[in-house]
């Protein structure tokens, strides 16, 4: 009878200890999950920052790419003819460029012919979509660039430039 009592008390204490250990374990596990959650949100934030930085840096390098550059007389200009041509190669270049979407539209002189209900008709002569994003949620970044064309009349070479806006989009993860 005495033995049974003692053994029951021991059992109870062991159970108490086991519950305590489980409680401590759960406490530390929750604390670890909390810390991980904070560091992961930090990581997502810095990943988005790096992506944004990359998109902005990339937009600034586009005028130096032969696929879109004008000529040596204007190193920061885009070639309008190449913009038109590149829109036919959009699917291939979407895999190559670190952007989700890329388009360009005329800003100056104001493209009055292609404005419908106060908005620029796109795609049109004044708005060239090189490739579009498949994802609906993406953030867009823009830069203004001179867009030029060359023509030759009566043996004289003419270069004409307009101001366009180059807009690149990057995917947003929700």
């Amino acid at each position: 009878m005495v033995n049974l009592k003692i053994s029951k008390s021991a059992q109870f204490q062991i159970q108490q200890m086991a519950f305590m250990i489980i409680a401590i374990f759960i406490f530390f596990a929750l604390a670890a999950i909390f810390v991980l959650q904070i560091s992961l949100s930090d990581l997502e934030g810095s990943s988005a920052d790096i992506k944004t930085e990359k998109a902005i840096n990339f937009l600034s390098t586009i005028p130096s790419m032969t696929e879109l550059s004008f000529d040596d007389s204007c190193p920061n200009c885009l070639d309008r003819d190449k913009l038109v041509v590149l829109s036919d190669f959009g699917v291939e270049y979407k895999r190559f460029f670190p952007l989700e979407s890329l388009k360009a539209f005329k800003v100056y002189p104001v493209p009055e012919d292609n404005i419908v209900a106060g908005e620029l008709n796109c795609p049109s002569r004044d708005c060239i979509v090189i490739f579009e994003g498949s994802n609906t949620s993406f953030q867009e970044y823009a830069t203004f660039v001179p867009v030029c064309t060359k023509s030759r009349r009566q043996g004289i070479l003419r270069k004409e430039c307009e101001v366009w806006k180059l807009v690149g989009g990057i995917e947003l993860r929700e």
């Binding site: 670890a32 990339f58 003819d81 190559f96 030759r152």
Partner: protein, 310 residues
């Protein structure tokens, strides 16, 4: 009394065992978290580097250079995938503090860059140079990452004017820790032989071969520096990627020539561009030896045109 003793002893043994198990588990968890955070840091460094390489591209400049100082010895490994446009993969490994082990970050894939480097560069200081590669039009900016110091010997003036401003390269008076590069001579770690002799050549070294580690590596234009610093595997892979892009640019220029013709800007380069669009995707570095003089001639023809396609 004896039973109570046994009970007391058992509880203590159980508590000690459980405590040790929890402690070991926590130490293991903490080590894993530290390891993971180091992998994250290495991955972040590779991602930041890949993002900032855009700023280090030569663009319209003849060359751009930068020095990266890291706070601990870091291995930078550049992988290369050559199918189609292909890509370069940047992977950073850094030493774990207090041990000889290294942690390695995830690979960061960059498809719009052409990075040449020794496969693994362990250093606290990295020199980054960028120069455009034209063949016959500009195909891309090449990025050279190295921690090795090079000494150019018997350097022709045209090469000296191109490379004298680059960090990590000195001329003559070589020291023991430098890798020597001889132009038109032997007896150095690396030797360069220029083969351009035609009328369209600007210099004997417009194309040629770089001999190192018992291998002869053909180069053209600014790929000279790439052949000197890069391992042959990365070099060949990036050459294939560059030439694939070169072929696409030929297609774009060909389509552009159709548009500009309507505005009086005729060109006689269509047939050449068709040829380049077809042949470039199958190029490897050995084709530089047989074709570079024709390519230089195409560039000369473009410069003579009123409108010019590039």
């Amino acid at each position: 009394m004896e039973n109570k003793k046994a009970e007391f002893g058992f509880i203590w043994i159980f508590a000690i065992l459980a405590g040790v198990a929890i402690l070991l588990f926590m130490i293991y968890g903490a080590t894993k978290i530290i390891d993971t955070s180091q992998v994250i840091e290495d991955t972040k460094l590779a991602a930041i580097l890949s993002s900032n390489l855009d700023l280090l591209e030569a663009g319209s400049a003849q060359s751009i250079q930068a020095t990266i100082r890291l706070n601990k010895p870091t291995n930078l490994s550049i992988g290369c995938f050559e199918v189609g446009y292909g890509d370069n993969r940047i992977q950073v490994s850094s030493g774990k503090s207090g041990s000889n082990e290294w942690s390695t970050g995830e690979e960061i894939v960059v498809s719009d860059k052409y990075i040449f480097s020794d496969r693994t560069e362990a250093s606290k200081v990295l020199e980054i140079n960028s120069r455009p590669f034209s063949y016959p039009y500009k195909i891309a900016d090449l990025i050279f990452i190295t921690s090795t110091s090079y000494c150019f010997v018997n350097t022709p003036s045209e090469i000296m004017s191109l490379y004298s401003s680059l960090k990590g390269i000195s001329f003559d008076n070589c020291t023991r820790d430098q890798t020597s590069v001889c132009f038109g001579a032997y007896g150095c770690n690396i030797s360069v032989e220029g083969l351009c002799t035609g009328l369209a050549c600007n210099s004997e070294y417009d194309y040629g071969t770089v001999r190192k580690d018992g291998r002869s590596i053909p180069y053209a234009d600014s790929l000279l520096l790439a052949a000197i610093i890069s391992d042959s595997q990365t070099y060949e892979c990036n050459v294939k990627r560059l030439m694939f892009r070169g072929g696409k640019i030929a297609e774009i220029l060909l389509a552009k020539s159709q548009i500009t013709r309507a505005r009086g800007c005729n060109t006689a380069l269509d047939s050449y561009l068709e040829l380049l669009a077809l042949s470039f995707p199958n190029y490897d570095s050995s084709d530089f030896l047989s074709n570079t003089e024709s390519i230089l001639e195409i560039d000369r023809l473009n410069n003579q045109e009123v409108c010019g396609l590039w």
